[in-house]
């Protein structure tokens, strides 16, 4: 690959990174905190492309043809793949397939301390990880007597019953792991996996096991549910 082509590839990669990080697209792949670094890296890639072209065009005017054979890295062609991934394909955030592959994340964040009371509101919005930790490690003390609203996607549970799940990221989707909550009562039925739903219900002391890693999976007693559009930030 000659230097002009390399400049084009760097320009495309930088542009793709900038486009993804200036919008919401990057949230499908990494944590929100990476945004400023992605913008900086994208800008540097564009600068490197522009400077390469600048020196290339300048030296074309000043020096004569000299046949010095440098081995310009051919492996660089592969950098077109992430460009295509971001600009053409833009794959969706991890969903129920990934949730079924890995065990529930609950064991990771076990601080069996006092949980602060839930904020006011009826129903009150609770994150899946928050609900699961309060249910399992606090025996639901801070949850009882409240109407709770949880948002996540539907994923098939071990017994075929739908569960509510959400992926938890530390850095990027490669380390994404699911948090799963079982549903009893009037839970969503006949809903395709990966459908985003909002369920309203109450704490129940029923706890199951994730067959993948034996982690505790708390349940929610559902009283109502509705389909919703996926949130911007799909990970917890």
């Amino acid at each position: 690959m000659n230097r002009q082509a390399q400049a084009v590839v760097m320009l495309l990669l930088g542009g793709a990174v900038l486009k993804a990080s200036l919008g919401d697209l990057y949230l499908r792949y990494v944590k929100a905190g990476l945004q400023p670094f992605l913008i900086g890296a994208g800008a540097l890639l564009v600068a490197a492309a522009v400077m390469t072209l600048w020196y290339e065009l300048r030296s074309r005017r000043t020096t004569s043809h000299a046949h010095e054979h440098h081995h310009e890295p051919r492996i660089g062609w592969l950098l077109i793949l992430p460009v295509l991934g971001l600009l053409l394909v833009a794959p969706p955030a991890l969903g129920s397939y990934a949730a079924g592959q890995a065990g529930s994340v609950l064991t990771a964040q076990n601080s069996a301390s006092d949980y602060p009371p839930l904020p006011a509101g009826d129903p009150v919005d609770v994150g899946l990880l928050d609900y699961a930790s309060r249910a399992v490690f606090d025996q639901g003390r801070s949850l009882t007597g409240r109407t709770l609203r949880l948002t996540g996607f539907v994923t098939p549970g071990p017994d075929g019953e739908p569960m509510l799940a959400r992926m938890v990221l530390s850095c990027c989707a490669a380390d994404g792991r699911p948090i799963k909550v079982g549903l009893t009562g009037a839970g969503p039925s006949a809903v395709a996996p990966d459908t985003w739903v909002q369920v309203v219900g109450a704490y129940t002391n029923r706890v199951g096991k994730d067959p993948v890693n034996d982690a505790d999976v708390p349940y929610l007693q559902v009283t109502g549910w509705q389909e919703v559009t996926p949130p911007k930030q799909q990970y917890e």
């Binding site: 670094f37 660089g76 890693n213």
Partner: protein, 333 residues
């Protein structure tokens, strides 16, 4: 330095000389084809496994791009703006002492392992003894404050996990540096030919180094990301559960899992924490192996130091990380 002619020049696919079909033209045709066939291509990956593969592949790269770019820029700064004599003054003269000094210097480079490979390559080019540069390469992603803090957060109530991780990783890095002093041969390292920077203006030399390392290390990073995404989709976690009961097997299983998954060192503690069926020692081995040997690193090391280097260095590091990780785990956990 004489510059080669630009278009139709000595690219990968064209003979030098006049205006033939060069890599810019090839790139243009490729991109037009891809845009034209966008929809059929997108529908090809509607399958859940392929879609997950694509998501993980793109995520690994998006996550790594800032570290790669900043690492490459830092290595270009080292190549162009830091005088050769600086390293002779900064590191102890005796190579055996330079190794632990360079390993400890890894504390100051926060971030993932993607950035440290080109930096280590740049250090060797500037005359730092390879043993010290390799100790730095292994230590930097594992013992910096961000990674150790993440480990503390991921293992609440078990601060010894972070201590054990820091100690074991530093020991592995220094041991591999000293091993290289005893057994390593300079000819195993073949740094990729980088256009000679000496005759160029500083600005030109800086951007030439950035461009070259980005294209080179970045290309290999793509290989590593593809391998990691494949493993992520192909190996379901439940296969592992049966191994957790056996002490020796669980250490080996998590060591190999760390190599295959290629997770960033800032994130691997959270994954280790959720592998709750496994013993703490085997999870420590996971944390010590991951930042020093994984598919992404092996492919980048092969790209930056040559294949002859990678086939020796990666297995030796893996063995060292398993032995040291198990030993430190047995004592501290």
């Amino acid at each position: 330095m004489e510059r080669p002619p630009a278009a139709g020049g000595p690219g990968g696919h064209d003979a030098g000389g006049g205006r033939r079909f060069g890599s810019v033209e090839l790139l243009a045709v490729l991109l037009v084809l891809l845009v034209v066939f966008r929809n059929p291509l997108a529908s090809l990956i509607s399958d859940a496994r392929l879609q997950t593969w694509t998501t993980v592949f793109v995520s690994v790269l998006v996550q790594a791009v800032p570290f790669l770019v900043f690492g490459v820029v830092l290595s270009a700064v080292i190549a162009v703006f830091v005088p050769r004599s600086f390293w002779a003054r900064a590191l102890p003269r005796h190579p055996a002492l330079a190794v632990p000094a360079a390993g400890l210097a890894g504390v100051v480079l926060p971030g993932c392992e993607c950035g440290s490979v080109p930096i280590a390559g740049s250090l060797i080019r500037r005359g730092v003894t390879p043993a010290a540069a390799l100790a730095f390469l292994l230590a930097a992603p594992a013992i910096n404050p961000i990674v150790l803090t993440a480990t503390v957060v991921a293992f609440p109530g078990r601060p010894m996990m972070a201590v054990a991780r820091g100690v074991a990783s530093l020991v592995v890095a220094v041991a591999m540096g000293w091993l290289w002093l005893r057994l390593g041969r300079t000819e195993w390292i073949k740094l990729p030919h980088r256009p000679d920077l000496d005759g160029l203006s500083r600005g030109n030399a800086f951007w030439a180094a950035v461009r070259h390392d980005l294209m080179h290390a970045g290309g290999f990073l793509v290989v590593g990301a593809a391998a990691a995404a494949t493993i992520n989709v192909v190996v379901p976690e439940r296969w592992l559960s049966s191994l957790a009961g056996n002490a020796a097997l669980s250490v080996l299983a998590l060591a190999i899992l760390a190599v295959l998954l290629s997770i960033c060192s800032e994130a691997d503690a959270f994954v280790a924490a959720s592998l709750s069926q496994f013993s703490l020692t085997s999870r420590l081995v996971f944390l010590v192996v991951g930042p020093t040997v994984d598919l992404k690193l092996i492919s980048m090391q092969a790209g930056v130091f040559g294949r002859r280097f990678a086939v020796r260095f990666a297995p030796a590091t893996l063995v060292a990380a398993i032995v040291v990780g198990t030993g430190v785990g047995a004592v501290l956990l």
